[in-house]
Subunit: 378 residues, 2 copies
């Protein structure tokens, strides 16, 4: 089993008080804020115990490390508008509320500082282009970041995917019960086509177990909704993955589309969930042409294996190779282009919208049916 | 690239002198002795620079370590008969000759000590049963072990597989030129059926390169001869492995059939050849029912990853799964028995002898043809 990032597994969940002081100021969390809140509360962001202060924020942007030197690649911040920032200054703590007005917890007001959005965009997303979904989202947020320790009375997931929602501590306990020493984590925001099935199974062959850990926080509009994806994961696991060696659980984070930096974030947070290995594909967490194909793999070279504490497994794109009648990549196949069966994302969408069948060599029929239904109804 | 075992890559090859003192005693090397000699000469047994003395020998039997504490699982010894042992005592060095009488090199006579065959059998082979091929071979050898540093004038391979015979230094140079940081080593004494192809390719997917490293020293009589196996390796690599990511080279050792201890030996010597990872299957280097199915994997737990210095990759037996139309193992397939295509070694031999075709799901046709020809001619 992995050691949690920073060697401590945080748990910010506390008994809700009978009554919350109604004089306290309120910060309403956005969908993203709620995702970060859930990740903080359950220890997925260990060793963080709250939203970042200015020191950590600037250190993360500049060095990809917390101010104490620990690797950390993305800011975990709580943006507030100017007026609220001003109002909060005279209080020691604030109530955190969810989107339906329910009280989720409290934050100690330790710091309120100005966001450096320009620098944040350029270091995190490597672009200031407002067409980048991460930059676009950043620009819409408040200009001030509220920092401080969090206390969580409630985890704000409204029961969505509740049977698949496990805290890091719960997954660790499960892996322990299964006797898994090595656990391969697979992050995904897409349905599992045969290419992904192949890569995860390759990794599973030499690990004790596989954690299929789809991201279910906010994704961009044209990604397939998490509900549909979860149906696909259930179908493929039910039919083609031995349950003894496979766990499906959801990862509450939202997608930043920060490519290389997000690959590091995905890896180090999976340590907290008990993973010892983490699959990093080509253009992991990428979008458009903002990152080089291998940048999200190469970035791991900047850190020693010891300080990472989780082993990245780098994979190429997989295709069906007609020469070997197997799934393969350019590393394991001598197929010429005409011997490969591979469909681009846009081709897949086009075929599904037109009600065309995807080839069995590309997608298992059980997954294909769910997707076709989705595209034809949408 | 890996660090050589004991952190030093040995090279015992020296310019042959114009004339060798004809008064020196002569030790004629057996096939096995020549295999060890070649391994010593080229540094495959680094950090050993000669045949083991009594301290190392007893320490290896008892502790699986050299007397300096370094992991070492098999004795590397030079057996001599009683009379020769007596004769050698009055000399400081001896000439080493090959099977055709050619001078291969010299050995400094540092120690001549009695073999403890009983203890050797019970610790190395975990049995004293004379039906075990390793025990049987041991019993036929001389009772004394000659120890001392070796100087090699010639490497005794008679040009057999010379194009595939690379020293550790040569392979390291090649891997370096290819820019491989991680190299997966695959030991085999069998033809590569689709099960092995699948496992090596799984490993290759997340490594930079694959070293197919068949053992070509003495094997037991009913194993397929190295010449036939090499034909199979060439055929399968030519057709189904990208040359950019695959190197075929031969491993000059002879088979001990020592199961778990030999798995450790195979792994640590592959460090010297530049491997960072090493595939260990079920019953690796086993024979008959002498070892438990997973013993050759479990033995690695006795050592820390740091002192091993090479990462073992443990695999299950693979089969063709009709449910997924893929190669798989019990870890990656939900196939019932009737959905699996798998043939036992004896079934394969029977079918080939009868001129029956092996199914394409079990063996590539190019390999199957070579084997069928061999069995029908033999």
């Amino acid at each position: 089993m992995s050691i949690p990032h920073g060697e401590i597994l945080i748990d910010l969940q506390a008994e809700a008080p009978q009554e919350v002081n109604s004089d306290l100021p309120v910060v309403a969390l956005s969908q993203r804020g709620q995702a970060d809140f859930e990740m903080l509360a359950t220890g997925a962001l260990s060793p963080l115990s709250g939203f970042m202060g200015a020191d950590d924020y600037h250190s993360v942007l500049k060095e990809m490390r917390l101010s104490n030197g620990l690797i950390w690649s993305l800011p975990i911040v709580l943006p507030v508008e100017d007026a609220l920032a001003e109002h909060l200054k005279s209080f020691g703590e604030a109530v955190l509320k969810g989107s339906s007005g329910e009280i989720l917890g409290k934050i100690k007001i330790e710091d309120i500082y100005k966001a450096d959005k320009e620098k944040e965009a350029e270091t995190v997303f490597l672009t200031s282009d407002a067409a980048h979904p991460g930059v676009a989202a950043l620009q819409k947020l408040g200009n001030w970041y509220l920092a401080g320790e969090v206390e969580a009375y409630k985890v704000p997931h409204h029961g969505r995917f509740s049977q698949y929602r496990h805290s890091p501590a719960e997954l660790r306990q499960l892996f322990d019960k299964k006797g898994w020493k090595t656990v391969v984590g697979f992050q995904t925001r897409n349905p599992i086509h045969r290419a992904h099935e192949y890569l995860t199974k390759c990794a599973l062959e030499f690990g004790d177990g596989l954690l299929i850990h789809p991201i279910v926080g906010e994704t961009k509009g044209d990604d397939i909704p998490a509900e549909i994806r979860m149906e696909c994961y259930e179908a493929i696991i039910d039919n083609y993955f031995p349950h003894r060696y496979t766990v499906l659980s959801v990862y509450p984070a939202f997608m930043r589309y920060a490519g290389p930096r997000e690959a590091i974030f995905h890896a180090i947070t999976r340590k907290n969930y008990g993973c010892t290995h983490f699959i990093v594909g080509r253009d992991h967490a990428g979008v458009g042409d903002y990152y080089g194909t291998y940048d999200a793999q190469k970035i791991f070279d900047q850190f020693t294996p010891e300080e990472l504490g989780i082993q990245p497994l780098f994979f190429e794109h997989a295709f069906y190779c007609k020469r070997t009648n197997s799934m393969a990549t350019t590393k394991t196949s001598r197929a010429m282009d005409h011997e490969k069966i591979f469909l681009s994302g846009s081709k897949v969408r086009e075929m599904l919208k037109n009600g065309e069948r995807l080839p069995e060599e590309f997608t298992r029929s059980e997954v294909e049916e769910i997707l076709r239904r989705h595209y034809q109804n949408g």
